[in-house]
Symmetry: D2
Subunit: 310 residues, 4 copies
């Protein structure tokens, strides 16, 4: 299955599970894949920034991608192939597609500043990986310090037929979704899929602005699935009800720098990961922070999804 511009639903960003000594934890990969399928996810994204991709050796990266692909039972898997050089990007992209990936995701290098530089970068990236691989633009200014205007994104989409999706992660970003859907409406941009990130912190309104779903790694993917489904069904109040129950934890997980530690700890508590270890250099939760996450999980547990009519 190849990714195309009609993709929708939830493509969780998978963390990469490690043992405390830094080895890859393959058992947890399998468990995660099962859990994502059970949560109702439509697909999966691996080797993203929150997948600790830059800390992996090339061979490890490919093995992890392949194992997730194997575990996802034919659901589409997008593989992050961002790299400082196009040689590495190409080799991972082509190898991942050979192993069954549905498409790849490409973030701009942080040194890009001007609109022209950004558009040139994507042209060169597509030239490097080949025209036959569907790709996702990753737009994440807070971490990448690259600012893409709606016009730049439109230009990338128009110049590169293999561009099928935007991973939207600007902050603030709601107006960007409206602007891009406006371009589609006035015929100046062909339709693409827009999935949103930012840990899910604005998913409620992102769906109302025209997003097709979510691509983020929040530790409760079933909430993302519920909100996307309810919003598509026009059940706005219910969508916000379940979303609001999660906001206290969402905002806690969305702290720059410690977010992945919160997320892995939560997933460990939920039985999805054997360990919450990150490869070094990584962040570690203090005792106080773990207690705060425990407290938030306790409060969340009181929220009854069924009572909320979901």
């Amino acid at each position: 299955m190849r990714l195309d511009a009609t993709a929708q639903g939830v493509y969780p960003i998978a963390p990469t599970p490690f043992h405390p000594d830094g080895r890859i934890d393959e058992g947890s990969i399998d468990r995660l894949a099962e859990a994502y399928i059970a949560s109702g996810a439509t697909g999966l994204t691996v080797l993203g920034i929150m997948g600790e991709a830059p800390k992996l050796e090339p061979e490890e990266a490919l093995n992890i991608a392949a194992r997730f692909i194997g575990g996802m039972a034919r659901l589409p898997v997008i593989v992050g192939v961002s790299a400082p050089g196009f040689a590495a990007m190409r080799s991972l992209a082509r190898a991942a597609m050979d192993r069954g990936a549905a498409g790849v995701m490409i973030a701009p290098v942080p040194s890009l500043r001007t609109d022209d530089q950004i558009m040139a970068y994507y042209r060169q990236a597509v030239e490097a990986i080949g025209l036959d691989i569907p790709f996702v633009i990753q737009d994440y200014p807070l971490t990448l310090s690259v600012q893409m205007t709606p016009k730049v994104i439109r230009q990338i989409v128009e110049e590169n037929p293999s561009c099928v999706m935007l991973k939207h992660e600007d902050w603030p970003g709601l107006e960007k979704i409206s602007a891009l859907r406006g371009f589609q409406a006035d015929g100046s941009m062909r339709p693409i899929s827009i999935l949103t990130g930012n840990g899910g912190l604005f998913l409620d309104f992102e769906m109302e602005r025209g997003a097709d779903g979510a691509m983020t790694g929040y530790a409760f993917p079933e909430m993302l699935v519920d909100v996307v489904r309810l919003q598509k069904a026009g059940r706005r109040e219910e969508a916000h009800d379940i979303f609001d129950a999660h906001v206290p934890l969402l905002r806690y997980e969305q702290q720059q720098g410690v977010g992945l530690a919160v997320r892995k700890y939560t997933m460990m508590k939920r039985g999805l990961l054997t360990s919450d270890a990150q490869r070094k250099p990584g962040s570690v939760l203090s005792v106080a922070a773990r207690a705060e996450v425990d407290y938030l999980l306790g409060r969340l547990a009181k929220f009854d999804r069924r009572a909320a009519g979901i």
Copy 2:
């Protein structure tokens, strides 16, 4: 009344009210002051970043500070005096104290990088304004791009007896509060007041980590007052209940760049401001964004403070 290190409670960050043509709206200043007193605030902070201070002429700034001071009925008012040069900082600081300010707040200039540069900057600032004016360190890395470690803050506190308070606005910042309270516990730093910012988005846990209160401009200051009071009384669950009811709006207001527009719009809807205008260059809410805020306000209105036992 002079600010000292025992300060606690809530010192809202006041917006500066403008008419749509850019003139200062003095009637709204008076109305805001009344509302802050009614909300239970312990003091007030004016001319902060969210007070659009850099867009004011020196004389305007002083007049605004004086009018807020007059309206606050002897409650302590902190005046932001951050400036690119020490001459302007000194003249505003001394004039504000003459008009009855309780103390001043000083942010580092964005060019500072190293620990030594930051400490030297505060030494020079204190030399400029005089040793007799109590001052607040403003620590806001996301906007100011200056990173102050707990050790640097300790050093500033130890070197400058007139430093009485930290406006804490790091993100993430919970561990910083714990570290500073640890310094006090081990005797390596004298006690100071810590009030927290970030729009209130982490106030629930900041209080549990040892903060003395809040200094932020969230459009519902009475919520900040409630959370601070309940947490100090050990009523943790109730504090989180009321806090959680506000988190959806808090996170919406805490969007970089549009936050002030959300805040002023909300305050206008609440009758506290006649207009939500900002001086140019400023941000403006789209029609869709206004509808989103309206929707969040509608949901918030359903939360009954009394039912929550507050």
Copy 3:
């Protein structure tokens, strides 16, 4: 005299002279003005970044501008009016024009990121100061962290008839001059004046790429005048000869953060300034650094301008 798009030659960036106690040194302003006229400068620029403008009170700024204007004997003086808010920008711009300024210079605020934001900023700035004041775009990414592509500059020029000049200070920036002159050649941009900064470190080639002259504060403005004149006369080798004699000092003065201290010290040694003091916060040369400048000045003194045929 009003600035227009035919401006050329050298418009030195004047430092603001201070006494060691921070007061403005008006005698040195007069001496500087005489020296600039004697050096062959075509005009002057005051209240730039290297003029310590952000450290001045509004009234001081206007007085300094007026005194320089008075001293320059009808040569055109450009006044820097960059400010965080448009109210201050407007009041200084209009007051400076009333006092006889030829035009104003406007730098973008550092928070601008995208092409659209930059263009909108200049539209708003022009709206604020009025359509009747000729203005200069200041393009200085290293310090301002705003990246303007040639296309963005073209757009600003095309949208704003009162834009007459670019102060070019990108690094590297030679291709930018070629691109802009290419736009003029293909008819897509009306002609504007381009004067270059960067302390003069690339003036030799900037002239060959099509610059109209220099706008920078190097402590030997007569060298800038010589290079501009010789290059315009097609005397390339001589231009490089005199330029190369200065490069060791140019590169020393062009050190970020200490450059102004080097420049003021050199000007003091040359008798142009009574003191090399900066207003705080400022930089100070170490004893070793002063000795290095002295050494470079000694070597430079051996270079005989006459022998070089100038």
Copy 4:
């Protein structure tokens, strides 16, 4: 031979030679190594930032390092092992030492901000590569956006016995050398080797401030060797004479972003590289820029080293 704190002289930063199609050009590696030996270099540094290291696959990187080591005839070779993750850093460091490297160079990751973060990073890096590998701190704030104060460097040196050298590349940086040598003089830091970068643009004075030599990739390494030798011999005027003859080209090569293109083009013109190609994404010189380099090389050729008594 293992690198230690007594290292001095010139360790050029080698470019990585590529064929126009992106393949590694091994013939040019051999030719470069011969030329470095002939220039009088004391050692060599490979896989630095200007060696396009991030664009190499791990196996390629190791092969390049090994080939340079083989070509350098027992002169010490330092291998850059900077990486986003410690796993990759460790594997390259240990493999390079196995192939005969003298030591490794480690740059901080760009996300580090505070003094404590920087020191912790180096502790973790040393733990990862092992205590037995001599390493060099790479201090290059302009590109890496990490600011290390002299105190932080001292702390890293004191905490990690395997730290033997600082690659000094701050800008401005002269005072940093003086501060570090001051720490050695007052006994608070053990002696380390300091080699300087910045393309050599301040080498004249860096030697006078106490540097032990140069580590930079300027296309005329013999000039670096001459200046270091003459300054050590106390022949100051001669050192400056030869240095000044190169400053026009040095400053041209030191333009951010295009510097490597200038350097490779010059080396190609000198017969050291078969092609000036960079791996993508890379920079390319315009026709005008090539002509400018040609012109500078022509002027430089007139300078007679023998006449200068070298």
